[in-house]
């Protein structure tokens, strides 16, 4: 029996149109704008100023707190300005503007294709490298990776879970890296596993990615035969169900354990990292390459096959530039999503630039994405059936509309993972998550101030 999480979930069409499109490297534009807020936590502090020359991989912003991350230049050239610029959602954020000249990298970076399988022994040095290279979680939350790899005192990791579920429809970048960079990902996993004290490691991949499953299984087998430190790593096939890649759901699926409300994965002995993060860890630790590239999917039903792409991009590239290189924004596109269609963000500003966690330009037509008119709740229970946290969205939205915070907390609104299953499923088009999201914010604030 294939494993999956035990509560709720939905089965939207997976629409992996671009799954066979090989990763192509995007040419570097003449100018990049690199945001200092590419991670969860405090935005980094810029350490360059207009007129400075920078190389590829040079630190241009430093962490401003414990939960923060280094930002590196993705190009070589001259810093033109450091100042506010609109991000994806149209909010102002400090960006570092660099005019590109040539492609000169900092010293010590290994740009060859040679696979390095031997894992350095010093865990402290490894963590330092991961931190210095600005590695953050690339599964969506962009939480600084080194923080997650240092369990708080008293907590032990029983299992490292590598998230290769890619349960969001349309996205195929993880699929491609698992096929094309499988060995590097496994080395990254082995490095993280060693840092965590040598716990069991499971790479969870959904059944709809047979090529990735085969490639990853082969890579694990080969590395276990030829190198040291790869025992206890295995690949697990997961049933296709959204949101399998949700951290809490994946832990349930793989380990059969459930994280307590408001708790952390490490409380049940789990550490979850995305496969793309594992690749970034490999590049940081084995190759000294900071996190300045990632892979994103350009897709949508309204794009012809030849305009579907999986691109290796550098951070700071304007989205409009990428769309242009990919063949232009299709006429029918009414909404462009960065991320998956279930949890991604609608792009308000195509002049915004790529960040570490960018994963897609997804073109949706009006017909696909415009919601129907809201009507009365028919108490069908489909929202509750779909909720992977076992919540009762119809009830939460009712309480939320009346500002009943006590009832909301009692009914666990704070546990909502904002997966969108409820809103997706509601036949009456009630904007469940829109309402619940606001209520959740309020309740979490109340819980925090109480403590």
């Amino acid at each position: 029996m294939m494993k999956t999480f035990s509560i709720g979930g939905i089965h939207p069409s997976d629409s992996k149109i671009s799954k066979d499109c090989k990763i192509e490297v995007l040419p570097v534009p003449s100018k990049v704008f690199i945001s200092v807020a590419q991670h969860l936590g405090a935005p980094a502090t810029p350490i360059v100023k207009a007129g400075d020359t920078v190389k590829v991989g040079q630190v241009i912003a430093e962490p401003a707190g414990f939960i923060s991350a280094y930002v590196h230049s993705s190009v070589s050239g001259t810093v033109k300005s450091v100042g506010p610029r609109k991000d994806l959602a149209g909010n102002n954020m400090t960006h570092i503007e660099i005019d590109v000249e040539g492609d000169e990298w900092v010293e010590g970076v290994d740009l060859s294709d040679t696979l390095i399988t031997a894992i350095p022994e010093d865990n402290k040095a490894i963590l330092e490298k991961i931190k210095m290279c600005g590695v953050v979680g690339l599964g969506g939350a962009t939480f600084p990776a080194h923080v997650k790899l240092c369990p708080p005192p008293g907590k032990v990791a029983d299992c490292l879970i590598l998230n290769g579920a890619e349960c969001e429809p349309y996205l195929t970048s993880d699929n491609r890296i698992m096929i094309e960079r499988s060995k590097e990902i496994v080395v990254g996993a082995a490095i993280m596993k060693q840092v965590l004290g040598g716990c069991k490691t499971v790479i969870g991949i959904e059944e709809n990615k047979p090529e990735a499953l085969a490639a990853m299984t082969a890579a694990v087998a080969q590395l276990q035969k030829t190198a040291k430190g790869y025992d206890g790593i295995s690949v697990m096939t997961l049933k296709k169900k959204y949101p399998q890649g949700g951290e809490k759901q994946l832990i349930d699926a793989v380990m059969g354990r459930q994280v307590k409300s408001m708790g952390l994965p490490i409380d049940v002995g789990a550490v979850v990292q995305n496969v793309a993060t594992s690749l970034a860890v490999y590049e940081a630790v084995q190759k000294n390459i900071p996190l300045i590239t990632n892979v994103m999917t350009i897709t949508g039903d309204c794009l012809p096959m030849e305009k579907q792409h999986n691109y290796k991009f550098r951070i700071g590239m304007p989205l409009s530039y990428i769309a242009e290189v990919a063949g232009g924004v299709p006429e029918q596109a009414a909404k462009i999503i960065s991320g998956g269609p279930m949890m991604g963000k609608a792009i308000a500003n195509m002049e915004a630039t790529t960040v570490k966690g960018s994963s897609s330009l997804l073109y949706l037509t009006a017909e696909q994405t415009v919601r129907g008119v809201e009507s009365a709740c028919i108490r069908c229970g489909k929202c509750a059936e779909a909720c992977p946290m076992g919540l009762e969205p119809f009830l939460l939205q009712k309480y939320a509309r009346h500002n009943m915070t006590d009832e909301l907390e009692e009914n666990a609104v704070q546990d909502c993972i904002e997966c969108g299953c409820c809103l997706y499923s509601c036949p009456a088009n009630i904007p469940l998550l829109d309402i619940i999201r606001i209520a959740k914010g309020d309740v979490i604030r109340i819980i925090r101030t109480r403590k």
């Binding site: 939905i10 269609p341 509750a384 904002e418 997706y424 009456a428 829109d434």
Partner: protein, 320 residues
């Protein structure tokens, strides 16, 4: 591409809508409708026509002129109520009685509570029960009208099988052949004609994921067990389980009325409690009560405790 749409996630939505769900319920009732029209002919068509037309018209008029709310006729829930009400009446019901049933169902049971989603009781059952109490002669006189086919079949004219038992004891139904009942041969309201037709509808609802099996199955299982025990103890006094499942609108109620979203519990466990309750109350009424069948009353009674059931049966939450 003019201006980009920007709205919060999720950006996709299921194709299932209130309307498509209601349409599926209507489709699921079609086998039973077809069988009843074939066997009861023009008079059944008249009952169906009057019932559906008056339910839709009443909902339209009430939303438009009384409540002044957006029109909800397009969601097809009034059509569902109309067909259900018709299936719950004898084919011989005069048109004006049908119309009164529709007024009670839509006007009283549905709209006074605020329309779809707000009503506590299933509108079609309220309509039927109102008629049962107000016009008992029309509602229990089951003379069989001329159908399009099978005009000669006449197992029990003048009374429903359950009614016959109430009056004449168990001997009254000795001539009944269950395999007939499975297909077409039950005296009673139009929708009780054929168990097979109803079960086809049930299968359709399950396949289309309109309903889950818990409520229907727990009703049938409860009735089977309850009557099985009594029948085993004293078969001369009590009717047997198969008889009880195939008669008295039990299947019609268990499949199409007790499963109504609005008036049934939200959770699976709640659904089972609800179903067991309906099964027990139905059998208590049938064996010991004044009315020969008890399904409608049982559903109404259990409808009234749904808010309580919902209060106590919550879904299993993650990590709690």
């Amino acid at each position: 591409m003019e201006k980009l749409l920007v709205s919060p996630s999720p950006h996709l939505h299921t194709k299932t809508s209130t309307k498509s769900l209601m349409r599926d319920v209507v489709i699921a009732m079609m086998p039973a409708v077809i069988v009843s029209v074939l066997f009861y002919g023009w008079s059944e068509l008249l009952v169906l026509g009057v019932s559906v037309a008056s339910c839709v018209l009443l909902e339209y008029l009430i939303t438009k002129y009384l409540l002044k709310k957006p029109c909800t006729v397009c969601d097809m829930s009034a059509v569902v109520t109309g067909v259900l009400l018709a299936l719950n009446l004898p084919a011989t019901t005069p048109w004006w009685v049908v119309f009164i049933g529709a007024v009670v169902a839509i006007g009283v049971a549905k709209m006074t509570f605020g329309g779809l989603g707000q009503n506590l009781f299933n509108p079609a059952i309220v309509g039927r029960v109102f008629l049962l109490i107000s016009f008992p002669t029309y509602m229990t006189d089951w003379t069989r009208p001329q159908g399009f086919i099978g005009g000669g079949i006449d197992a029990l004219s003048g009374a429903t099988p359950l009614g016959a038992v109430k009056e004449g004891g168990i001997a009254a139904i000795e001539c009944l052949d269950y395999s007939d009942m499975l297909f077409y041969n039950i005296g009673g309201s139009a929708g009780e004609l054929s168990a097979i037709a109803l079960l086809i509808g049930f299968a359709y609802l399950l396949v289309r994921r309109v309903i889950k099996p818990y409520i229907t199955c727990s009703i049938i299982a409860t009735v089977a067990i309850f009557s099985g025990i009594f029948w085993a103890i004293n078969p001369a006094e009590y009717t047997d389980p198969v008889f009880n499942i195939l008669t008295g609108g039990l299947l019609l109620g268990a499949i199409f009325m007790a499963t109504d979203y609005v008036t049934s519990p939200m959770s699976n466990v709640g659904g089972i409690i609800f179903g067991v309750g309906i099964g027990i109350i139905t059998m208590l009424i049938r064996y010991f009560g004044a009315y020969p069948e008890g399904m409608s009353f049982a559903i109404l009674i259990m409808n009234s405790v749904v808010p309580l059931i919902n209060k106590w049966c919550h879904t299993k939450k993650y990590g709690r």
